[in-house]
């Protein structure tokens, strides 16, 4: 039984579940939606904000929570299985999805896919809402993500909207 169903059976219709920064929301915060801030991967503060609606999970994989620095280079916990080394190119990937476990795994997979591979993989996985930050602080987002995202960091980093390539078998709505 999933989290949502479990809470429903306990009579909880509105909730925000925070698993150490990974979030899932049910219902609303009173008369308004749940307000989520996405932490900036460098320098602290908030990068962007979005209103999460019923059932949505917001998961981020980044290189900035678990890492050490050695000889000026950052060694973080997301390893590229092709090299056995920390994946390079992106510093964070945020996924909004309706399944928390999938969102968690997919965010990590997109991180490993890197700046040139994430969009194709997102399309294959049926993800519609993705935000990535690269090593130079530039943002890329899918159209569905860009539409709802409010960039709050100042100065505002550049945001490029990336159309997802046409997906094969997996299309919109799958997994719902």
């Amino acid at each position: 039984m999933g989290l949502r169903e479990r809470l429903r059976r306990m009579g909880v219709a509105n909730a925000l579940v925070n698993a150490g920064g990974d979030l899932r929301v049910l219902g609303r915060h009173g008369e308004r939606p749940w307000r989520i801030g996405i932490r900036a991967p460098r320098g602290g503060g908030i990068l962007a904000a979005l209103d999460a609606v019923d059932g949505e999970a917001v998961f981020t994989s980044g290189d900035y929570e678990r890492y050490f620095t050695w000889q000026g280079r950052r060694y973080h916990h997301i390893l590229d299985p092709r090299t056995g080394r920390p994946a390079r190119g992106l510093v964070s990937v945020t996924v909004v999805h309706d399944d928390g476990s999938e969102a968690d795994a997919y965010a990590t997979a997109l991180f490993v896919a890197g700046p040139r591979g994430w969009a194709a993989l997102a399309a294959r996985l049926g993800l519609r809402q993705v935000l990535v930050v690269d090593e130079r602080g530039r943002l890329q987002a899918t159209p569905d993500m860009a539409r709802r995202l409010r960039i709050v960091a100042r100065p505002a980093p550049p945001l490029e909207v990336v159309e997802l390539p046409a997906a094969g078998a997996r299309t919109r709505g799958e997994g719902e």
Partner: protein, 122 residues
């Protein structure tokens, strides 16, 4: 000699008064709502206002966690856990932010009167 204020004088006075009011609001008012840290422990919950600097010793499941409050932010300075993930998390200062020492059962959540965020994703 009698001095009568000219329209230009009045304008200058008005501008000065307006500037003073604006500066006052800028410096003293609307500096954002005071954020409070809600500290949950196995022994209960307490609130720490973040507008007063201080060091707090909080009993947990393993021992004492030490929290530092400074400049509107809070962090774990020490905790009797092995990995020190809590200490390495650094400062929490935004409403909705959260730092925790799970081994010690101490969870610190930041809340405002109407916090800008309900939770921070990272």
């Amino acid at each position: 000699m009698r001095l009568r204020p000219t329209p230009a004088d009045l304008l200058a006075f008005a501008a000065a008064a307006a500037l003073l009011a604006a500066l006052h609001l800028h410096a003293w008012g609307g500096g954002g709502p005071v954020v409070t840290a809600r500290v949950e422990t196995p022994a209960g919950t307490r609130l720490l206002p973040l507008d007063r600097a201080g060091t707090y010793r909080v009993p947990g499941a393993l021992g004492e966690s030490v929290l530092e409050v400074r400049d509107g932010a809070v962090r774990f300075v020490d905790s009797p856990c092995r990995a020190k993930v809590c200490v390495r998390s650094g400062w929490a200062r935004t409403s909705g932010d959260l730092v925790a020492c799970l081994p010690n059962g101490v969870v610190v959540t930041l809340t405002g009167p109407d916090g800008e965020y309900d939770a921070i994703n990272f």
